[in-house]
């Protein structure tokens, strides 16, 4: 059933940011009663499971999509892309001046990403949503949407995740990431492009692959350093390095490899802990799930 409402998704921040919650509520308040919009509220975009109700909903949106997140537009766009939500990045007030080349093709529906960190008040976002709604947008065909002018809340339970996000507009296909990562996070698709095959195999806090990528195509949206989190103002050509390892130790071998080693040690420490406490299972990767399922089949 097609309708001409614009799909607006507000993706909340992780719990614990009361100032952010206030802004979220004010924006939702400002959108209430709008019958030209389909408003949905989701947990933090980066923490959604690929096969969870949140991403399922996002994939169900056929037309233009407005997404408000606590991420750079570029980061939000590529997280969506990795989960099968495709389109062209619509030019919004959240885009930096430097973002002239936005990913996507002119014929595609637009994904308008708004970065909630950019403004402290709801008005600029509400104004921008009005502007987008007034453009000729493709009708949104959504599986679930507003009921009686109130937003639809998808309360998928989430925990903070950590995994790399690839910007395919920058990726040069060198496959250094696949080569470098010891944890099996990367794989390749049918076109031999690198993909994040096992995101949850990624060791929390380790951004080593982001530093290895010569094109600056890998981001960790929750990392403290804007260059690694996906700040578009930092061009891949002049990505600022963090030379701290070099200027502390002597040996540049420590750079990136130190991060990787620390992540490996942490994994080994956790496996030892698991061996001692069999009742407390660590988060399983998809491979572990597969093994368990085969075991359960009792072949």
């Amino acid at each position: 059933m097609a309708n001409s409402k614009l799909a607006v998704v507000l993706s909340k921040d992780r719990p614990g940011q009361s100032e952010h919650e206030i802004l979220e509520r004010k924006i939702l308040g400002g959108l209430e009663g709008r019958h030209d919009l389909e408003v949905t509220v989701l947990p933090h975009l980066y923490d959604l499971a690929n096969d969870g109700p949140g991403m399922e909903f996002l994939r169900s949106v056929g037309g233009d999509l407005v997404v408000l997140t606590w991420l750079y537009p570029r980061s939000a766009y590529w997280v969506l892309d990795a989960n099968g939500v495709k389109g062209r990045l619509g030019p919004t007030i959240s885009l930096a001046e430097e973002e002239i080349d936005v990913p996507g093709n002119p014929g595609e529906r637009a994904i308008w990403c708004l970065d909630l960190r950019n403004q402290k008040r709801p008005d600029p976002f509400l104004k921008e949503i009005n502007r987008i709604a007034s453009l000729a947008v493709e009708p949104a065909t959504v599986a679930a949407g507003q009921i009686n002018g109130r937003p639809n809340w998808i309360d998928e339970p989430t925990a903070p995740r950590w995994y790399p996000v690839i910007d395919f507009s920058r990726c040069g296909n060198c496959l250094e990431c696949l080569n470098f990562c010891l944890f099996g996070v990367f794989g390749t698709d049918a076109d031999e492009r690198p993909i994040v095959e096992q995101p949850d195999a990624c060791r929390s806090g380790c951004p080593a692959c982001s530093r290895i990528c010569p094109e600056g195509a890998i981001m960790f949206p929750q990392h403290g350093d804007p260059a690694i989190a996906g700040d578009p103002r930092i061009s891949p050509k002049d990505l600022k390095l963090d030379l701290s390892q070099l200027f502390r130790d002597s040996d540049p071998l420590q750079i990136a490899e130190a991060e990787r080693r620390r992540a490996l040690e942490e994994r080994e420490r956790q496996s030892r802990q698991t061996a001692e406490k069999p009742s407390e299972l660590p988060r399983k990767g998809s491979l572990d799930d597969l093994v368990d399922r085969i075991d359960d089949m009792d072949l």
Binding site: I212, P236, D238, K240, S244, D249
Partner: protein, 165 residues
């Protein structure tokens, strides 16, 4: 100053002064009366780009150990935490460099010394040993230097692009 050694960073030469010693963390160390002055090697400065910000977190009179964090620096190409190259006691931070960090780019071996240490103790390298150290660690360092023309070749295991031999 006697003729410096040259270390090629891609197609760009870094001049390594031979009249002083070096710590493995790319700082030079030179005695000056009772204290030792410490500055950046040309290698470090090339990696940083145009330096525009410098801040110290230690204070004069404080005892320091090799590897202690002391400050922070930012240039056009990189940022870094700064660490003490030796054990000793912080004597003085160079006020001229604090006032104008870009002095590091123009005068890295003399006027732009960073700080001085009293009672400095610890292993140091001669300029030749430091050059060996740079050469041995260059292939991997290249992989992390964005924007360097030979970076990708070395990282992918190919022969160095800048080697004419």
């Amino acid at each position: 100053m006697p003729k410096p050694l040259i270390f090629m960073m891609g197609r760009s030469p870094a001049f390594i002064a031979t009249d002083r010693q070096y710590a493995r963390n790319h700082m030079w160390v030179q005695p000056d009366g009772a204290v030792c002055r410490v500055g950046f090697s040309a290698y470090a400065v090339k990696l940083l780009g145009d330096v525009h910000h410098l801040a110290w977190s230690a204070a004069p009179g404080r005892a320091v150990r090799s590897g202690d964090p002391m400050g922070f620096i930012e240039g056009s190409k990189a940022t870094s935490d700064l660490y003490c190259p030796m054990d000793g006691e912080v004597a003085e931070f160079n006020p001229r460099v604090l006032a104008d960090p870009s002095l590091i780019n123009s005068n890295l071996y003399d006027d732009a010394w960073l700080f001085s240490l009293a009672d400095a103790r610890g292993p140091l390298l001669s300029s030749e040993q430091y050059l060996d150290h740079l050469e041995a660690s260059w292939p991997l360092a290249q992989r992390l230097l964005k924007g360097q023309s030979s970076g990708r070749d070395a990282g992918a295991g190919g022969k160095p692009a800048s080697d004419p031999a």
